[in-house]
Subunit: 483 residues, 2 copies
């Protein structure tokens, strides 16, 4: 373990990010190009993310299943847009059991094809619908530039796949899952997000419409944190997913897919981290409270550890995720820095004075310096800790929202976009065309993020025109630098 | 859903097995050679297995992490025995992102190599030891003959990997995890197992010693349900996993690995299933109680459903996994068969008479016919159900143990082995040599299962000789037909 700090954000945000991932023990580079090793601390964070999402999927009637890692190449080729979108990113198995395979197998980059094939066998009648399935799995995309958690050759994710009787039901499902993602992001990860529709250029390969939740990172760049797709009948037609309706007629299903990945960990790091390292929202932090005993000699140690044990037991008994740092060879100062780096929301210190005064010293990770510190009575410590964890959770969300809102700018024209593109998000009327998006990307490096749902509810003025090219606007869209 | 039954075990055990897997909706064949699709019911069973194992791993100080799917071919080649054992079974990625890879990547068949490489970076000093890591993952082995859950090209599993200061600690860990597997098998899966050491021929490629839990299936064949390996310093030397000891001297670590896979589902099917289908132990059953409402008309339905709702709510409130089968288009008789096929431990029926009499009709899956049925008062139903689920759990274990014990035979000579090999397990003095095992396998189809730990504790008589070849015996070993 290193006691050195991280590169300041202001100096090099990208280096800051990598420093935090490595020094907070979330992940490590793997000996395979573009892959990562998720270390125990990072994996526990992912387990907490998984548990919260899985609970929401099951509460809305979805069931988990598991589909094969390998997909016959011919499956991918059935949907023209899909194969075009994914073929540059494929890892291909050509040898199995020592022999060249007749048909190469693709390591799944996503599973619409093999699940579409399976759904065609599972669905016969309207009674089998809606079919609501989710899979927790690893996927592989051969990415050129990789970055821990944000874009890795292999990553972990969940992919939901559903089939419905009507377009309306599929659309309802698509938006329901987007809302579940928003609910998770806001209430668990403490990250405010903008829900929106992707432009045609940015949508999923093979979808009719793609929706996204976009979060603002600490450098004001956007990060796509989850997507939900209305696949129309595209995959149903190609994979023959049909049902007998109530009039006994064959109909194609309407399908959806939606996913959140280990990229969410990257979002949490960048939405909340600071120059001292990680800051984790209490609701998903692997360790919510770290307790550091302080003593100078054996006599003090005995008195202190007695109280430490009692306090720890009482908090663990109510399922607060507490860790006692009783490492002998390290100073309290070292430990403080270490747990700040690892983003533990609340630190408790108990020393000889606290034993005498029946107190505990607390330090909040979300409020730096003296302001975040207080001495509280040992009595009622459970209620105190619960209240503070709650306050920290809400405080982090408030802080992220204040920061985000201060960096959203509505712009009237291309000049306005150029002014803010480097230092915030620009909201503007947008034609939605490929030409315009390409031009903006080339000239400002900002990309089209989404047409926010909340801001495009009302009918647009008839004369609404694209701020960049002046053609009729599709709606208001956010543009920003993005990962 | 099909109302047809399964092939009787006595007619064709292998067909019975496949019928049960498919008709109970546990899994399906995948469109990729040797792979399977785990359906929601099967996956929920696997989730319950995972949760129980994971709890035990964490309680003994292990942490989960995640390592890459792909392993450079050169890593596998470092350990001679390891590569020899696994190379015939590898799936190899040769193309990534449209280009031929310089070094082919193996899809992990197991992760000793890549984790060994990582451990060499994580371990510096004795303070970093023991290092206790587990991974939940998919692995791929190109198997020639596959069978749903028992042997599939891709399967899901956990693989534990640990590093220690001494041989003794590694050996202690190896046996501790074997005991955890035994504890799970006996107390959750209701399958009595024999813990033993594998012969040299049967041990893991690269291990010093391999231990196994072996269960007896319904056709008296053996199934290896989990293994735990003492890897000695083999992988530590090859991957340079070294630590500075207290005297400041470099030492190689001692490592272990241990795993349980989706094969466990196959064990549960075969240890408990009967000609009506699956029988699931209550502690891991996705559905512990199915409640079937019975009525003939709308008036009866209203009265019955009122009570059904009340009873269901009270059981769900205490976390009993209950499902109300309120499908309209199916008869109660169809539903009874369906849930028997799917192995639900306890069935409840509530009809108009039960409403009047304030009773509930119960049917146990573990006791066929009238004997397993009873009418109980609605009052106290929570306690009644909890008691019965507990009785079923223990009853299933007892039944499996009685069956197993009746089919274990101690034999004195090769003739004795030949007599029992087709219809039970033979325990005999065994030399442990490859020649002898090969001969037995060829002539009787029985393979060496293990040297049971409990039966090899005492020092063996000096003149103990192999029942087959007459050479000095290593110990007593079980031989049996096996999957």
């Amino acid at each position: 373990m290193s006691q050195q700090g991280v590169t300041p954000q202001s100096e090099d945000y990208s280096k800051w990010y990598t420093d935090v991932v490595l020094k907070s023990n979330l992940a490590d580079y793997a000996p395979v190009r573009g892959c990562m090793i998720i270390k125990p601390y990072g994996y526990e964070l992912w387990e907490n993310i998984k548990a919260e999402l899985d609970k929401r999927f099951k509460a809305t009637g979805h069931q988990n299943a598991y589909f094969p890692l390998f997909i016959p190449m011919s499956f991918l080729q059935k949907e023209a847009e899909h194969v075009e979108g994914f073929s540059p990113e494929l890892a291909v198995v050509t040898i199995g059991g020592g022999e060249k395979l007749e048909e190469p197998l693709v390591v799944r980059p996503t599973s619409e094809t093999v699940i579409g094939h399976t759904f065609s066998q599972w669905v016969q009648s309207y009674r089998d619908l809606p079919l609501l399935i989710n899979q927790w799995a690893n996927v592989v995309r051969w990415e050129m530039r990789t970055r821990l958690f944000l874009r890795t050759t292999e990553f972990l994710w969940q992919e939901g796949h559903t089939a419905h009787e009507t377009y309306e039901e599929a659309q309802e499902e698509t938006l329901r899952m987007l809302e579940i993602y928003e609910d998770f992001a806001v209430n668990e990860a403490a990250i405010p997000v903008i829900k929106g529709r992707k432009s045609n250029q940015e949508k999923f390969a093979g979808a009719d419409a793609s929706y996204t939740i976009e979060g603002m990172m600490g450098n004001k760049w956007a990060l796509q944190m989850g997507t939900s797709h209305n696949l129309g009948q595209n995959f149903a037609r190609v994979f023959d997913i049909k049902y007998l309706d109530k009039k006994n007629e064959q109909q194609y299903c309407w399908t959806t897919s939606w996913g959140v990945s280990t990229r969410m960990v990257g979002a949490i790091i960048m939405a909340h981290g600071d120059d001292k390292g990680l800051r984790l929202p209490p609701r998903i932090a692997p360790i919510q409270v770290v307790l550091v005993p302080i003593y100078k000699n054996e006599e003090e140690k005995a008195r202190v550890m007695h109280v430490v044990g009692r306090v720890a037991d009482s908090l663990l008994a109510v399922r607060i995720r507490l860790h006692v740092d009783d490492r002998e060879e390290l100073t309290p100062g070292f430990k403080f820095n270490d747990w700040e780096m690892r983003g533990v929301p609340l630190r408790m210190e108990i020393g000889p004075k606290d034993v005498t005064n029946e107190t505990i010293a607390l330090a909040r990770r979300d409020i730096p310096g003296k302001e975040g510190k207080q001495i509280v009575p040992q009595e009622g410590i459970i209620a105190t800790v619960m209240r503070l964890l709650n306050e920290i959770q809400h405080g982090m969300l408030r802080q992220a929202r204040t920061f985000r809102d201060a960096n959203l700018h509505e712009v009237e024209d291309y000049e306005g976009l150029k002014r803010v593109a480097d230092d915030g998000w620009a909201l503007m009327w947008h034609c939605g065309t490929a030409e315009c998006e390409r031009r903006v990307q080339e000239e400002t490096k900002a990309s089209s993020r989404c047409f926010p749902l909340d801001l495009n509810k009302e009918e647009k003025p008839k004369d609404a025109r694209c701020a960049v090219c002046g053609k009729p606007a599709q709606g208001k869209a956010y543009f920003a630098r993005a990962y």
